[in-house]
């Protein structure tokens, strides 16, 4: 049983499953993009999640959407993922996957 199996929202769970599948298939960059899509869905569903993850005080950045080549930004008040690069490593994909999965599980609790 994968960690994402406990996510109740069908759309978010499907995207996390897709991310895992992309990683298994050797495409961590596609996995990162699937995680961003999943996180976008979560921000739609949970008020305040977007604001909590905007870059703020340096000391809390570890608790926010990771900044390993993708940055969550506000463009005219709306969430926007800024990609600094196209290629991502497996470790980066794992980091985005676990952060997004944890966020989904915490928000539904």
């Amino acid at each position: 049983m994968a960690r994402y199996d406990d996510v109740q929202d069908d759309g978010v769970r499907a995207l996390l499953e897709q991310a895992t599948s992309e990683m298994r298939g050797g495409d961590p960059s596609a996995a990162v993009r699937a995680c961003c899509d999943a996180f976008a869905l979560l921000m739609d569903q949970h008020e305040g999640l977007f604001e909590e993850n905007l870059p703020a005080d340096e000391k809390i950045h570890h608790q926010q959407f990771p900044r390993f080549g993708v940055r969550l930004e506000s463009v005219e008040g709306q969430p926007h993922f800024e990609f600094d690069r196209e290629q991502f490593s497996m470790g980066e994909a794992i980091t985005y996957l676990d952060f997004t999965t944890d966020t989904a599980l915490k928000r539904q609790a």
Partner: protein, 427 residues
């Protein structure tokens, strides 16, 4: 549960002068050799050395391969751990790491534990021009390729994001095939999950409680079984926890000898974790705003704090000291802040051997594989560290080592039942 020692090689500046005695580093290193020699004779299982750069007073272990090379020839059984090698190729070229680790493995008779990491503070990342947002990617590429260099003949070459090299046979090859057990530094839960997915050991530097450890162990081994993409040719399933350590005849004497060690450890780590030019309020004190390399006396700044802040106790508004429960209730929510908070206050392995035995049993019950002690920190005295190593090694370690064989190993085998990958682990 097995046990080890952990070295930053801390060297606080003198309080009454701005620079060290010319022989201070030599004395520090000589004392460390004596301590590890004793630990080896008493049956401690591991010693780990950090690799940090430019972090004056906090960590003078900048070339752990040299310390480990010396110990390889003066010790017999203790396993020699990098805790960790900084793997961004800008800091250490992967081929040089492979050469050094393999050579160390040979001269030590196959006793190397290969801890890996990304580097942390701006002071050291900036010193080698490592961009923070790329360090995880650099760690992964450097580690993956380094393991291939140790295990493939010839290494076919690599065109990567962070380094490239043509086909070469990287020699020597390590004694432990296909490569020594691999670990990654994990100050936070997130990195423990990553370690499991990559099939490598998690070096827990977050001063986790037994309860947190139990949850993390369960999560870690489940990921090893179900969602593992090994980064190397063999996996090394395992978790260690770091703990502050001082043993003496009475609890009071252990606390006195522990002195400001954990407090200075936490303070100086927090100091360097602060971005230069900024300040951070932590437990009421304000961190230094601007570090002057080669000049700033961190020990003096630490020593100027009120005693209750130096030794990790917090002052309540009615001027009483906090109880252990109150300390626990006042922990910061932020995971990194919490690690620093606990680094100054973690006392579960400070006391008599009876106290320590009772406290750390809870980690054994949580199925912790290894507990690593931070004995040398702050301005602690060498003779006190030696006595603590001896007391614990004679009074406590043997019974835990026995249960490791009779109870923990069978439990661990059940956790790894059905895992399809080759395992190379000293646990």
């Amino acid at each position: 549960m097995k046990f080890g020692l952990f070295y930053e090689l801390q060297l606080p500046r003198p309080l009454d002068e701005d620079t060290w005695d010319p022989n201070a580093e030599q004395q520090l290193f000589e004392e460390m050799f004596e301590q590890v020699q004793l630990a080896d004779e008493l049956g401690y299982h591991y010693v780990f050395f950090v690799e940090h750069h430019f972090l004056e007073e906090y960590a003078h272990s900048t070339a752990p391969e040299v310390m480990l090379g010396g110990l390889a020839r003066t010790t017999k059984n203790i396993r020699l751990g990098h805790g960790v090698v900084q793997m961004p190729p800008l800091v250490n070229h992967p081929a040089r790491v492979a050469e050094r680790v393999s050579s160390l493995d040979i001269i030590s008779g196959g006793r190397v534990e290969f801890g890996t990491g990304e580097g942390a503070s701006d002071a050291e990342l900036g010193g080698y021009n490592v961009e923070r947002s790329l360090k995880k990617s650099m760690w992964e590429e450097g580690t993956r390729e380094c393991l291939r260099m140790m295990s493939e003949t010839p290494y076919p070459g690599h065109e990567g994001e962070h380094f490239s090299m043509p086909e070469r046979n990287v020699i020597p090859k390590p004694l432990q095939a296909p490569h020594p057990p691999v670990w990654v530094a994990a100050s936070r839960r997130e990195t423990t999950l990553l370690a499991a997915r990559f099939g490598i050991g998690s070096m827990g530097f977050g001063f986790e409680t037994p309860e947190e450890t139990a949850v993390r162990v369960e999560e870690y081994y489940r990921l090893i079984r179900e969602e593992c993409f090994p980064i190397g040719k063999a996996i090394n399933p395992g978790l260690f926890v770091l703990n502050q350590f001082m043993a003496a005849e009475t609890d009071e004497e252990a606390v006195r000898r522990s002195a400001d060690g954990p407090g200075f450890f936490s303070y100086s780590l927090g100091y360097y974790s602060t971005t230069r030019g900024t300040s951070r309020t932590r437990s009421g004190e304000r961190m230094i705003d601007a570090h002057q390399a080669g000049v700033t006396n961190i020990h003096q700044a630490f020593n100027a704090l009120p005693q209750e802040q130096k030794d990790g106790r917090l002052q309540l508004s009615d001027a009483k000291l906090m109880t252990a429960q109150q300390i626990s209730e006042n922990e910061p929510e932020n995971e990194m802040e919490r690690a620093l908070y606990r680094a100054a206050r973690s006392g579960s392995a400070i006391g008599t051997t009876d106290s320590i035995r009772e406290n750390i049993k809870r980690y054994e019950d949580a199925h912790t594989d290894i507990m690593v002690f931070n004995a040398q920190c702050g301005a602690r005295k060498h003779e006190h560290i030696m006595e603590a190593i001896e007391r614990f090694g004679k009074d406590v370690l043997p019974e835990f080592a026995e249960r490791h064989e009779t109870e923990h190993k069978p439990w661990r085998e059940r956790q790894l039942d059905g895992v399809p990958y080759e395992i190379n682990s000293s646990i």
